[in-house]
């Protein structure tokens, strides 16, 4: 039998029919829904007099527009309120489970799926959100879709789609404690570019990946889309099973054993062929910071802001010129010369418990710099509670951080948490686009450790030296 990749094994198992030579009907095991990309899909279902095919395979939560403070006062923004109410009502009408704003299981959709054990190896998972790639860390095919496809999955529990190509990213070298998964994925995106993975599903392999915790693997897969790949995945192993065991929705007792038997078959066969292979050596990696307005515009903390003339490609050069102007940076500047205004720790990239622990370790016993407004937004209400049980909230608040309720928050600024024009922010999120965190705001993407150290110093520092 022809050797198969991890992706092909899961894909083949979920094929229902071939509509034509290029178009396949794929069964979707789990559909995650949030308030922003779903209202028009539900409206269209009603207009077409259709219903939700399998509501039990759909989970909704509210994350993008929810406020992260004073929730007891309700949602002040009338548009966000209308959108969140619409989701509540749609879920009621169509029989869909929702973890609403006051539910103890509420949180960023890509944090709660894994946390509840709903995300499992071998599944197909979609959501109207590009960071759905996160769930691939469990050895699942998981990708973002638009609102038309949200409606399609609601109505049919399938997607009619072309088979994507495969791309292997082999991570070579050893991690050490100053190099974080965020540095690894930023390094990969710097290498392949923001469109490098277009048309492909990435499989991340290599010893460094195998040694990573599930939360760290999620950080890697999460940002596949910033490298242009709709999905990123990692073969499940003992670390995956250990994470899932006893989670709410994980199989129990004899079912657990049956599940394990299946999951253990989920790996790329020896000799399986990929359409593209990239090697990423992490031995020379250093703590990284984005300087520009796309996530491939990244340098190491000890490098200087690049000169646009150093880019050979004309469009890269023009993009760099535009980015430097927007970011108010000059070629040759070092990051310890650039003052920051804000620090944001959170998001589906870096808002899980291990991220908060790593940041807390850096700031313990220290104070946030007087010029900095710093906030921590846990990825879910459960992450928040666990962090509080460990006393992390006290470490953050004693240092002068705001300790908030769970949501997407300032990763994309759809709620009241936004940058003011001209403000410069160290952010653990995933996108540094113009205006992403607020019109005129300037975003630098970093790891939680780098963000925490920046909060204390008022500018970026090399966490390898501040240890």
């Amino acid at each position: 039998m022809k050797p198969k990749t991890l992706f092909e094994k899961i894909w083949d198992k979920h094929l229902i029919a071939s509509i034509d030579a290029d178009t396949n009907l794929l069964f979707i095991d789990m559909h995650l829904v949030h308030e922003v990309t779903s209202p028009q899909a539900f409206d269209s279902l009603r207009i077409g007099e259709r219903t939700v095919k399998y509501p039990e395979l759909t989970l909704a939560t509210v994350d993008h527009g929810v406020p992260t403070s004073n929730r007891e006062l309700g949602i002040k923004d009338p548009l966000s309120k209308k959108q969140i109410d619409a989701l509540e009502n749609n879920c009621k009408e169509f029989g869909i489970t929702i973890f609403g704003v006051n539910d103890p299981r509420q949180g960023i959709v890509h944090v709660i799926g894994p946390e509840q054990g709903i995300t499992q190896p071998g599944m197909t998972i979609v959501c109207g959100d590009s960071h759905t790639a996160t769930h691939g860390a469990f050895g699942a095919i998981a990708f973002g879709i638009g609102t038309s496809e949200v409606e399609h999955v609601l109505a049919t529990q399938t997607l009619a789609m072309n088979k994507p190509k495969t791309m292997k990213v082999e991570v070579i070298g050893e991690m050490d404690e100053t190099i974080t998964p965020k540095d690894v994925i930023l390094g990969i995106i710097r290498e392949i570019g923001t469109g490098g993975g277009a048309g492909h599903v990435i499989e991340y392999c290599g010893d460094a990946i195998k040694k990573m915790s599930m939360e760290n693997r999620m950080t890697i897969c999460n940002m596949s889309i910033e490298g242009g790949a709709r999905a990123g995945m990692i073969a499940p192993d003992e670390i995956t099973y250990e994470y899932l065991k006893n989670k709410n929705y994980a199989p129990k007792n004899e079912d657990w054993d049956k599940a394990l038997d299946e999951w253990k078959e989920l790996y790329s066969d020896v000799g399986a062929e990929y359409d593209k292979v990239v090697e990423m050596n992490i031995n020379n990696l250093k703590p990284s910071v984005s300087w520009g307005t796309n996530p491939s515009q990244v340098i190491f903390i000890d490098e200087a802001v690049p000169n646009p003339d150093s880019f050979q490609n004309k469009s890269d050069k023009e993009a760099a010129e535009r980015a430097l102007e927007y970011m108010d940076l000059k070629p040759g500047q070092k990051f310890n010369e650039i003052s920051l205004d804000r620090v944001f720790i959170g998001s589906c990239t870096n808002g899980r418990l291990e991220d908060l622990r790593a940041a807390a370790k850096v700031i313990e016993g220290k104070k946030v710099h007087e010029n900095i407004n710093a906030m921590v937004v846990p990825g879910s209400t459960l992450v928040k509670k666990q962090a509080e049980d460990e006393g992390l909230d006290k470490i953050f608040t004693n240092a002068g951080f705001d300790w908030r309720e769970a949501g997407c928050s300032m990763c994309l600024g759809m709620n009241p948490d936004i940058l003011q024009p001209g403000e410069r922010c160290a952010s653990t999120s995933n996108r540094n686009y113009e205006g992403r965190q607020g019109v005129g705001g300037r975003t630098h993407l970093v790891s939680p450790q780098m963000a925490a150290a920046a909060a204390i110093n008022g500018y970026f520092v090399d966490i390898r030296e501040s240890k």
């Binding site: 028009q40 077409g48 548009l79």
Partner: protein
Amino acid sequence: MKKLSFIESTMLPLPMSNIDTDQIMPKEFLKRVERSGYGEFLFYDWKKDDDFPLNNKIYKESKVLLAGTNFGTGSSREHAPWGLQDWGFDAVISSKFADIFRLNSINIGLLPIEASENIVEKLFQKVSENPKTKIQISIKEKSVVCEEIEFNFFIDDFSQNRILNGIDKIDISLEYEEKIDEFMQSRNGWAPKLT
């Protein structure tokens, strides 16, 4: 979805690379629960600059957007193609599209045309020499003509047929409903379920 078979139009040039969906449709307009009316919010922040091509009357009737490489990168928001279509665009030409943007566009009948960097560069040149240069796009023939520049583009037959005839994909998929139900019944009992 919008039906298209032939487009003849001038081209509006946006040569920047990596234009992300946050620029095409900024987040503040994603709070709307409506499906229509996104055209006025298209490139909302970039449009504040008077020199931005969308403000240039010469391109007012352009149904074709000519864009730098990796267009539509980032967020899965279908609001981005909604805005482009509502503004009046029927097609976007670029040397590369972000996957989700490309699929979202096809799903509403906004045609993404991928061309080689060389061809895209030549088209930009045409527009800069004469902004009134017209381009003809045949969806039926999968072909583009702009004066002496001629090329064929790829779109899979299923998507082409949907755009030509305005066919809703859900109806097609539901023809397989029996198979979908069979698959559902054959799944492992331990596969996660919410209710």
